[in-house]
Assembly symmetry: C2
Homo-oligomer: 255 residues x 2
């Protein structure tokens, strides 16, 4: 890709904001590129598209899934490559708006005011052609060392896997927080445990790392926990479903 | 507590093994105690109780919940304080075996061959008297800086909260792993995301940290995910139950 290439991010949400920050700061701690070799990045709110530069090498559309097609229509012909950043939307939604189009999907949870380390975020790239893939890969490499190709099927799979592993896990901590608050305690006592739960996964697979009453088939503890949740049908349903799912998985494996 | 006090751990599982390692290594990185001021620790398998020292200042029974009472009966009178290390078993099960008895509960996930940092493991102590609490607290302080008192209700609450936040979350990663394997990918791509999910919780509560299609009320993505899981009723049930639970919690909060 030529020096001084221009990137315009469209959006104002968590992903757009963080991609902008990541691209202007570059890979940390070491980035040996000169400023001329780095992308020129602009960020534009999707409601003020009149501020869009006349031409960009790459436009990244980073708006809600439902709004991607509409924004793409409005920026038709304004870039050599138009890509979106969604885990769930197929690449083809951009096919009418640009000769070259693709996907630039960062697998990470972004919260607006939360600083984060960008250089190990996995990026998953898809493109209409090898040249598009190369250009988007080049851009992702400005941020991260972990850049992969993934077609729409793989990307959708990654997205749902991330929902299970991250969104749902966070919700389980939220339930734990409620349970602890009722006894005047705080979810923060769980943080060393949560950290170790993740750290274990660096050296052992999640099925090997599984601990707790369900995988131990500890019926006494499971019954006591279900009893404790008797007046809370919603939490009890989650407890029972996940405990039986752990046992099913262990059974399947031991066959 | 006097110098050179003696601690005997009974058990051969993950918790017993790690407590032994933690007590012989002491608080890291700095532990200014001389060897004489530290506990003398022995570990004995519950099947070879004939090897038990004649008298210990503290016996920690770290065996399966169902076996605690039986082991306690066998070591009656062999220690000034007998304590167990379980999250779920009440302290009273030890009441007949020793004048002084208590609970010494480390809130952590232990896997046998996995090294871990002991000094930030929260310990929750309960005792028949203030003197017992003080002695067990003193012992926990040999390992960790995070030592709290918690009665049986609080401890049981901590245990079930840990099941939600840790055991169940790990299982969700195991499901994500299966989903990814079916598309020739590996759960390890999720690790930066998992780390950030936990890291966020140091500065924001889990309900504030919640992201994903459910909390965004993104019906299109939720429907697409449920469609993707149509042939897998078990995973689909988990997806649907946890998504609705996230939405319920958000609704309750916005009231």
């Amino acid at each position: 890709m030529k020096n001084n290439f221009t990137v315009t991010i469209i959006g104002s949400g968590n992903v757009a904001t963080h991609l902008y920050k990541a691209l202007i700061s570059g890979k940390q701690p070491i980035d040996e590129k000169t400023p001329e070799e780095r992308a020129n990045v602009t960020i534009v709110n999707s409601r003020t598209l009149e501020n869009l530069p006349g031409h960009s090498d790459i436009i990244l559309i980073s708006v809600k899934d439902d709004a991607i097609a509409e924004v793409a229509e409005k920026v038709k012909g304004k870039a050599s490559i138009i890509a979106h950043t969604s885990g769930s939307v197929s690449m083809e939604v951009l096919g009418n708006c640009s000769e070259h189009f693709g996907v630039f999907y960062p697998l990470q949870t972004f919260s607006k005011d939360k600083e984060l380390e960008y250089s190990d975020i996995p990026f998953f790239i898809e493109g209409d052609s090898q040249a598009t893939v190369n250009a988007l890969r080049h851009l992702a490499n400005e941020i991260s060392t972990e850049v992969f190709e993934a077609d729409s099927n793989k990307r959708k799979r990654l997205h749902i896997a991330a929902v299970f592993a991250c969104n749902f896990s966070n919700h389980l901590v939220a339930i734990a927080d409620e349970l602890l608050k009722e006894e005047d305690m705080d979810y923060r006592v769980l943080i060393p445990l949560l950290k170790e739960t993740v750290k274990k996964l660096e050296s052992m697979s999640p099925i090997d790392a599984q601990t707790g009453p369900a995988v131990r088939q500890d019926k006494t503890v499971i019954a006591a926990h279900e009893e404790m949740l008797n007046n809370e049908p919603h939490r009890k349903a989650i407890y029972t479903l996940l405990s039986s799912s752990i046992q099913e998985m262990a059974k399947k494996r031991n066959k």
